[in-house]
């Protein structure tokens, strides 16, 4: 998404009629950040500068908001993202061991990306798939009831999808 193409009124919706100019720009901020991240896989500084000019919000405040939320990234991420669910149900069914296995297998710790950018390893509080605990998501795809064999499958897939 190009920041230039962002349509403030459309994105804010009906309620925009009763808001001030400033409130409208603010209300759009998180949505705009999400759109930028969808396009670039992270939040490049140049784009944020453009956004700051367009919405009239100081860059420092944009960063203030963006850094608060866990979902925004400020550096490029891996081509594959493996996300180990560490929700309660997964925790009691051994999510910790899975995370450890990933860390050992790829030599990175949680939140890091491998050097060849093939994988980013993350954890999530709960994917809401507790019936299948323990769960790992690989690029949006949910893998449930992860066993040693399933884990090896995931590793194979990631290595193949270089």
């Amino acid at each position: 998404m190009k920041v230039e193409k962002l349509q403030v009124d459309k994105a804010v919706g009906e309620v925009g009629k009763v808001l001030t100019e400033e409130q409208r720009a603010r209300a759009l901020l998180i949505h705009a950040l999400q759109e930028i991240q969808k396009a670039h896989n992270y939040l490049p500084e140049d784009e944020l500068k453009k956004l700051s000019r367009k919405l009239g919000i100081p860059l420092s405040e944009i960063y203030s908001t963006a850094t608060f939320y866990k979902q925004f990234y400020f550096a490029p991420r891996g081509r594959n993202v493996a996300c180990v669910c560490t929700g309660t149900a997964c925790h009691v069914r051994g999510a910790g061991d899975i995370l450890e296995a990933f860390e050992q297998e790829f030599g990175i710790s949680e939140g890091e990306t491998t050097e060849d950018k093939s994988l980013t390893l993350e954890t999530v509080g709960c994917v809401g798939c507790c019936g299948l605990a323990p769960v790992v998501t690989v690029n949006e795809e949910v893998v449930g009831e992860v066993t040693r064999e399933r884990f090896s499958e995931i590793v194979r897939d990631v290595r193949r999808r270089k």
Partner: protein, 639 residues
């Protein structure tokens, strides 16, 4: 589809839809919820459609939302035969179609069985998991295609709205909800009717309706199921609320981790607008309501109402001090009085308006009427979503619906209410589940997560787990939560790491009580709950960790004494290979662990194929022969 211009037009449209779908036609309602999709339900559905086409069978395949029994997914329900299939694999579909539709007999491999030896069960309502359930909030879940508004309308969809707009005043709707005593399903249990009244009586023309779909509690997924599987009942509930309080705008705030929920909600809103059920001049009555979806960005604290408002406004998700409440001017979104309820609360509203408060009050208990959806997870045989009347006992939920503990181990505790809830021990298993009794037992209803734990779960570790969650999710605005959670976590890490001291327990309790009293929002006030409840009910486990350096569940590393039982040892030598500290020594005919070198890292314990490596309370408990060998060996060393 053209716009419906009056409540009567909607009624006529519903009649025509019902007439079009005959009761006798062959139908498969296949679950395509998140869990079943992970089990390849989409391939199963595709194979089913193809197979039917190939054989010329007229088969309607409905892709529904979550049907509840996630453990046994992918699941499906057949009409008119009423057969319920579970764990269907794509390669089984041809046989399944042959048996079911051509021979008229159930395909036994895919039927539900309680265990290997029992007879398979054919019908859904005969499965113990579904028997005790009463479905109000989930009434359409697993029954209709969430992406098709006509299926919702053909049921009782938008009938409550039709009834309200044609024959009830806004006050009438408000009274009905108030009399039904619908308590907030988000966890705190505040009566929805009172909240609505408060918002309506606030000064100002512009009012807002907000649905809180930021379901961040680990181990809870009921809101997700509703948003993904039956978005229209949420929309209808919000419409009724908007009508009652005179609101023009509404928002559904959805967690970023739920992309499918966002997609299905947007589709549903689009379809409702097309039919004239949302937007300007709804059903030609002059009532207008615009609904939008707003996505979160990954912050647990945004489930707290004031932080949620801050997030929609585009700020950091910091909670704000209350009062002013959301329902008061200045307190709400952009300063407009706003009514915020949980997704499940809104989903309960249409049946209440349609069938009346008396019907709703006839279910559940006096103080907590209606039903509650629980996400039953952890170490039970049947995990999934269950909706039960309030007042049911924990035992019924865990043993009758959940089928008991995995591997028939011993039950230890059930954790309710997520990170702000507590652990309930066995002695309260026969307690009725409702807002007040859970509160009395030192836990809370919370959003409805129910995580079952057995003897292999360490309660100190569970407390640590929840605390590390709240500590990392603490927004950092108020010191009690920011510093308190950090300190408590450090103490817990000491205890589980074998460095605990007796005074740590008192210190832990002191900080916990202080944080509970002084934190700004629910996240901080609730954070000590898991600690306080485990300290109350499982203090012995804490003391074992501290005084005996022993973890009875064998979860915590660095605790206990590791020994090798010679009777069970098969001399494979894996333990010696696994040990990074050369603590596993071998004699001519046995392996044993040298306590001087052992760091209790559990590597040998994890790798042992025969379970010969044991973690015991103290060396005295270990079997004598192995210890003698150890002693001999050490004496040789000393020389």
């Amino acid at each position: 589809m053209k716009k419906l211009t009056s409540p009567q037009a909607l009624a006529r449209y519903r009649e025509s839809l019902r007439a079009a779908s005959g009761p006798g036609s062959l139908r498969v309602r296949a679950c395509t919820g998140t869990a079943c999709s992970a089990g390849k339900s989409h391939q199963v559905v595709a194979a089913m459609e193809e197979e039917a086409k190939k054989r010329g069978i007229e088969l309607e395949v409905v892709k529904t939302g979550c049907q509840g029994l996630c453990q046994k997914g992918p699941v499906m329900n057949l009409e008119p035969s009423g057969i319920f299939y579970q764990r269907v694999r794509p390669e089984q579909v041809p046989d399944l179609v042959t048996y079911t539709f051509q021979r008229g007999a159930p395909y036994r491999q895919s039927l539900f069985r309680q265990d290997i030896l029992s007879e398979p069960v054919t019908a859904m309502q005969d499965i113990p998991f579904y028997k005790k359930q009463v479905r109000i909030a989930l009434r359409n879940n697993g029954h209709i295609d969430p992406r098709d508004i006509t299926q919702y309308i053909a049921g009782d969809g938008y009938a409550a709205l039709e009834h309200a707009l044609s024959s009830m005043t806004p006050d009438g709707v408000m009274e009905e909800v108030d009399r039904a005593h619908v308590r907030g399903r988000g966890g705190a249990g505040f009566p929805a009717g009172r909240k609505w009244k408060h918002t309506r009586n606030a000064p100002g023309d512009i009012k807002l309706v907000i649905a809180n779909g930021d379901e961040g509690d680990p181990g809870a997924f009921m809101d997700r199921a509703i948003m993904e599987g039956d978005p229209h009942s949420l929309i209808e509930g919000m419409l009724l609320c908007a009508y009652a309080i005179g609101a023009r705008y509404g928002f559904v705030y959805v967690r970023h981790e739920y992309p499918l929920a966002v997609e299905n909600l947007r589709t549903a809103i689009g379809q409702a607008e097309k039919l004239g059920l949302l937007g300007n001049n709804i059903l030609g009555t002059g009532f207008s309501f615009a609904l939008d979806v707003r996505e979160g960005a990954g912050a647990f604290v945004c489930g707290e109402s004031t932080a949620l408002v801050a997030s929609i406004e585009g700020e950091r998700g910091f909670p704000r001090p209350r009062p002013p409440r959301l329902s008061e001017p200045v307190g709400g979104l952009w300063g407009f009085p706003s009514n915020l309820n949980n997704i499940e609360t809104y989903a309960c509203i249409p049946p209440v308006v349609l069938r009346g408060a008396e019907w709703f009050r006839s279910i559940g208990t006096e103080s907590s009427p209606g039903t509650k959806v629980f996400a039953l997870t952890g170490k039970v045989k049947n995990t999934g979503l269950v909706e039960v009347p309030m007042g049911i006992t924990l035992r019924e939920v865990i043993y009758d619906i959940g089928g008991g503990i995995l591997g028939d181990r011993k039950f230890k505790a059930v954790q309710t209410g997520g990170p702000s809830g507590g652990c309930i021990p066995e002695k309260y298993l026969d307690m009725p589940v409702d807002f007040d009794s859970l509160w009395k037992a030192g836990s809370m209803m919370g959003s409805g997560g129910m995580v079952v734990m057995d003897e292999t779960t360490c309660m100190v570790d569970v407390a640590k787990y929840f605390l590390s969650f709240t500590q990392s999710e603490s927004c950092g605005k108020c010191p009690p939560c920011r510093l308190g959670t950090y300190h408590m976590l450090r103490i817990l890490e000491r205890i589980t790491g074998g460095q605990g001291r007796q005074e740590d327990l008192d210190e832990l309790e002191r900080i916990a009580r202080q944080v509970q009293k002084t934190a700004l929002c629910g996240l901080g006030q609730g954070a000590p709950m898991p600690i306080l409840s485990t300290l109350t009910y499982f203090r012995q486990e804490y003391e074992e960790h501290v005084n005996e350096k022993y973890c009875r569940a064998r979860v915590c590393k660095g605790l206990g004494t590791f020994v090798i039982n010679r009777k069970e040892c098969i001399l494979c030598g894996l333990c010696a290979e696994a040990c990074a500290f050369d603590a596993v020594k071998e004699t001519r005919d046995a392996y044993f662990i040298d306590q001087d070198y052992c760091t209790r890292c559990k590597a040998c314990y994890t790798v042992c194929p025969s379970g010969a490596v044991r973690i015991v309370r103290s060396a005295e408990e270990a079997d004598a022969p192995a210890r003698r060998a150890e002693g001999d060996f050490q004496r040789v060393e000393d020389r």
